[in-house]
Symmetry: C2
Subunit: 200 residues, 2 copies
DNA sequence: TTATGACTTGAACAATTGTTCAAGTAAACC
DNA sequence: GGTTTACTTGAACAATTGTTCAAGTCATAA
């Protein structure tokens, strides 16, 4: 019987999300995927190989969701929905609130080269996704933002990371207010680019 | 010869910061502290006991630094300096840019109860520290902010977490611009409190 | 000198880690 | 029907994990 590879990666995603790369032992993985060690190694080569696949799929999924936001006819509304879903959803599995990429970044030094690259590429993929959203908001017919698109994309990514981390232990009411604040600031002022960091 | 306990905890902080709780093996710890297993267990009871001490000291240090910011005669200037130091400092040991509490939060499910509590208490300590800064900025003679102090403190904490995570892999120039943006937004508008999350 | 107490040592322990591999199964191809 | 190919199984492996403990060190007190 051929095992459904997609389902295996989904299960592994859940497990790594909950326990992290080091925290998830091969025996946990065997149980979660309902596969015996030989099968896992035949298919994914390694624990790290499986992890790399998980990270790649996770990042690609996030990038695709952000692209969908950018193609929505009301990108700002879609962006708010995106944040609310990612940050206050999964209240039954609270560990899913923290971004898997950020969680994996915490184990960076203990990972092999392939996994490291996957994480960095994943970060770049998210940045690219946010960049598409910013581009949509800046262009006609919306013209909602003016400023350096790449910088604003990094800013959104920063907000995303911060919110999701805080959401692990703060109340939903708080998080919703912080999303409100985020949308206010998005339309707010931006620092001039050609000026080195200064005060006021 | 009696070993300097403070130096031991400092060395352990460095090690846990670099490798994480699970990633740092007892033999790594023995080498870093230059202590034999028996001594470590006599003094700290556990790997987890040592880790808990590290987290407690780290959080208390952060809280104290924020209190100093709040007592500065120019709290806003001190706040900027605080962010710049925490986020773009330690370029030689880049792993120190990520907040140790956030890094530890990623291992939450794999820790014992004592360590979990230490992390949550540490988060609360940071929130309290940011709260003191907000209080100083809101009160005379500065009157720089008006809004719910606890909410703004959570917002600052969110910015802190997001920035430090991004700073692990983004350029310093980017990070400095994002700090500029942060200070603009701090003085900007805040969502009304008595209203549930809504769109503009 | 002897006894006490705090501290240190490092070999050793059981348990767990990621990984391998010879043997087995079953569908596909000639 | 026989061979190949892809996949599966689970016992077993060496290495590493956190932890223990009998024995040793050394300053101080009696």
């Amino acid at each position: 019987m051929k095992y459904n590879e997609q389902r295996a990666i989904d299960s592994a995603t859940d497990l790594f999300w909950k326990k992290g790369f080091q925290g998830a032992g091969m025996r946990d993985i065997q149980q979660a995927l309902d596969m015996r060690p030989g099968s896992i190694y035949a298919r994914f080569e390694n624990k790290e190989g499986l992890f790399t696949r998980v990270i790649n799929q996770y990042a690609e999924h996030g990038r695709a969701r952000l692209q969908a936001v950018s193609e929505h006819q009301e990108p700002l509304v879609a962006l708010r929905t995106f944040f609310v879903e990612e940050v206050t959803g999964a209240s039954e599995k609270r560990y899913k609130r923290q971004c898997l990429l950020v969680k994996s970044l915490a184990e960076f030094d203990n990972l092999g080269e392939a996994a490291k690259q996957a994480i960095l590429n994943g970060m770049d993929a998210l940045h690219e996704g946010f960049g598409q959203v910013v581009a949509a908001l800046s262009a006609p017919p919306h013209n909602m933002i003016k400023g350096d698109e790449s910088l604003i994309a990094h800013w959104l990514q920063e907000q995303f990371v911060g919110l999701r981390t805080l959401a692990v232990y703060a109340s939903d009411a708080r998080i919703n207010l912080l999303i409100d604040k985020l949308l206010l600031d998005l339309k707010g002022h931006w620092p001039a680019l050609n000026r080195p960091a200064s005060d006021e």
